[in-house]
Amino acid sequence: MVKAVLTVVGKDRVGIIAAVSSYLAGVNVNILDISQTIMSEIFSMVMLVDVSESYEPFVDISDGIKKLGSDMGLRMQLQHVDIFNSMHKI
């Protein structure tokens, strides 16, 4: 299993989760966990996904997510889980 963290931050609007999850489904990326909050109209979501069965290489999905974010006026980023593990765990 190759895990990655998808972060989404920006102004709340209709269809953010729908857009993200349909994009992920399209490239066969499985969603493992979601944590989402809205504070004073700022939408913040962290998703844990498994990219091991995806149809496309990691870097292409990462580019795709970034583009989806800029199309929707949100900051979206997909990062390999190791960056968080290595920074915060010994």
């Binding site: 963290v5 972060t7 931050v9 966990d33 944590s35 962290v46 844990l48 990691f58 870097v59 990462s62 580019d63 900051r75 980023q77 997909l78 990062q79 390999h80 889980v81 190791d82 960056i83 968080f84 593990n85 290595s86 920074m87 915060h88 010994i90």
Partner: protein
């Protein structure tokens, strides 16, 4: 979710708002096997070796950058000090520099270091020719970086080389006078140069290094500044602990990237250089960290103590985060590349003499200092000699990267662009030191070199 949300948020914020990045992934390549009596053969071998070893360096590092979502600002190459294999005249040395430039363009790296000579005890014929060719080599290229190791704690200071370098730096500035003497930004004079430094302009692949190696330099002054804002007014123990914890996190990024790059390229991992490397961007300054500790301006009384604390805490925090630490490792204080340093010079708080004191406790030395073009070669040599003395006596690396900008006077500014930033011209005390520099010979090694 098995990773706490606040940890994810902290990492994302460090990268997106606090300029956390990996400053450089540098591939070191041994060129000793490229030696030949025929300069054309030598150039071809060097080009072929660099392009075959580093052919996929840039694309591999770009993939890592995308997958981990961490910017990796520079991809670079360091090679065996060419003084060891040049064995040719000035013209031949310039040809070697052009070969490095061509290989750098082909592989897509922004700098290639190793047009270097290790002459702390004296020149070989090859190293003399290479050193004398440096101004012409730099002028004929844009990505080649040169360095000369003119002193070590064990050997003392080669004052002949120091004298020559004053003249060569002046020549280099003259040759690039249209751009304010910018060629000098690619020339470093070292004492105790590390063999595994990934940072430019002083990177070279030392003779004790393996065939090929990956070294990584981290950065992150903005992250440290933001972290210590939260402990404003608290005591020095708390301050040092906060910097250590932050340095640990920054270095872990470097370790991760270094391991990935090493695995994917099939090249051994060398070291992580735990440095705080500033950029001219606002929020990415080492000077502003010192000011955040409680100083009105970087350069005022207390600056050396503040820098000593910072430098030490960065090392302590970083050491446990990486399996192998090396290079320069500490806080860099390049003037033109640091927004806060530039401001401190402009408002008169920071002078060369204070910077010299700061170099006793920071990781490198007088870095990216712009001085008036009228400064004579002997004074530049003497500034270098002072810095070499600090390095040899204190058993540390020191360096000088000085730009005597032609036609510029104190109060002027020279724009270098990009990461090199813009340098305010700093006055040098104009007392004659030519009789000192003209003595030549070597300053003997300090007594504490006799440890065996």
């Amino acid at each position: 979710m098995f990773i706490p949300a606040d940890e994810i948020e902290q990492t994302v914020r460090m990268i997106s708002e606090e300029h956390l990045d990996i400053r450089t992934v540098t591939m070191g390549i041994n060129l000793l096997d490229c030696a030949s009596d025929d300069i054309s053969v030598k150039c071809r071998r060097i080009y072929d070796k660099i392009t075959s070893k580093a052919g996929s360096l840039v694309s591999t590092v770009c993939d890592i950058e995308k997958e981990y979502g961490i910017p990796i600002v520079n991809k670079r190459i360091s090679v065996t000090p060419l003084g060891m294999i040049a064995n040719t005249d000035t013209e031949g040395c310039v040809r070697l520099a052009r070969t490095l430039e061509k290989a750098a363009c082909e592989t897509g790296v922004n700098f290639i270091g190793g047009f270097s000579a290790l002459v702390h005890k004296g020149y070989t014929e090859s190293e003399r020719a290479l050193t004398e060719s440096i101004p012409y080599a730099l002028n004929a290229t844009s990505r080649v970086c040169a360095s000369v190791n003119a002193a070590t704690t064990k050997a003392g200071i080669n004052m002949d080389a120091v004298r020559d370098l004053g003249l060569l730096i002046k020549r280099s500035a003259e040759l690039s006078k249209e751009t304010g003497g910018s060629d000098c930004a690619r020339l470093v004079v070292f004492a105790n140069a590390p063999e595994d430094n990934p940072f430019m302009a002083g990177a070279f692949h030392g003779p004790g290094e393996p065939e090929c190696v990956i070294n990584v330099g981290v950065s992150g002054p903005g992250v440290v500044k933001r972290a210590i804002e939260k402990v404003r007014g608290e005591d020095f123990t708390t301050l040092a602990e906060t910097i250590k914890k932050t340095a640990f996190k920054i270095t872990r990024m470097g370790q991760l990237v270094a391991k990935e790059a090493s695995d994917r390229l099939g090249v051994p991992f060398g070291i992580v250089d735990l440095s705080l490397a500033p950029t001219p961007a606002v929020g990415d300054s080492v000077a502003r960290i010192l000011e955040e500790m409680g100083l009105e301006h970087c350069g005022g009384p207390g600056t050396t103590a503040a820098l000593a604390l910072l430098n030490d805490a960065v090392k302590k925090g970083g050491i446990m985060a990486s399996s192998h630490v090396g290079g320069l490792s500490g806080a860099f204080i390049p003037v033109s590349e640091d927004e806060g340093m530039i401001a401190a010079v402009r408002n008169g708080a920071l002078c060369i003499e204070k910077l010299e004191a700061m170099t006793c406790v920071c990781s490198v030395g007088l870095d990216m200092i712009v001085v008036p073009g009228s400064t004579d070669a002997a004074s530049i040599s003497a500034v270098i000699a002072d810095e070499m003395a600090i390095g040899t006596v204190n058993n540390k690396t020191t360096a000088v990267r000085i730009i005597p900008a032609p036609g510029k006077e104190p109060g002027d500014t020279v724009e270098f662009g990009g990461l090199l930033g813009s340098g305010p011209v700093m006055p040098v005390r104009s007392y004659d030191c030519s009789a000192f520099i003209d003595r030549g010979g070597r300053i003997p090694a300090p007594v504490h070199s006799l440890r065996n």
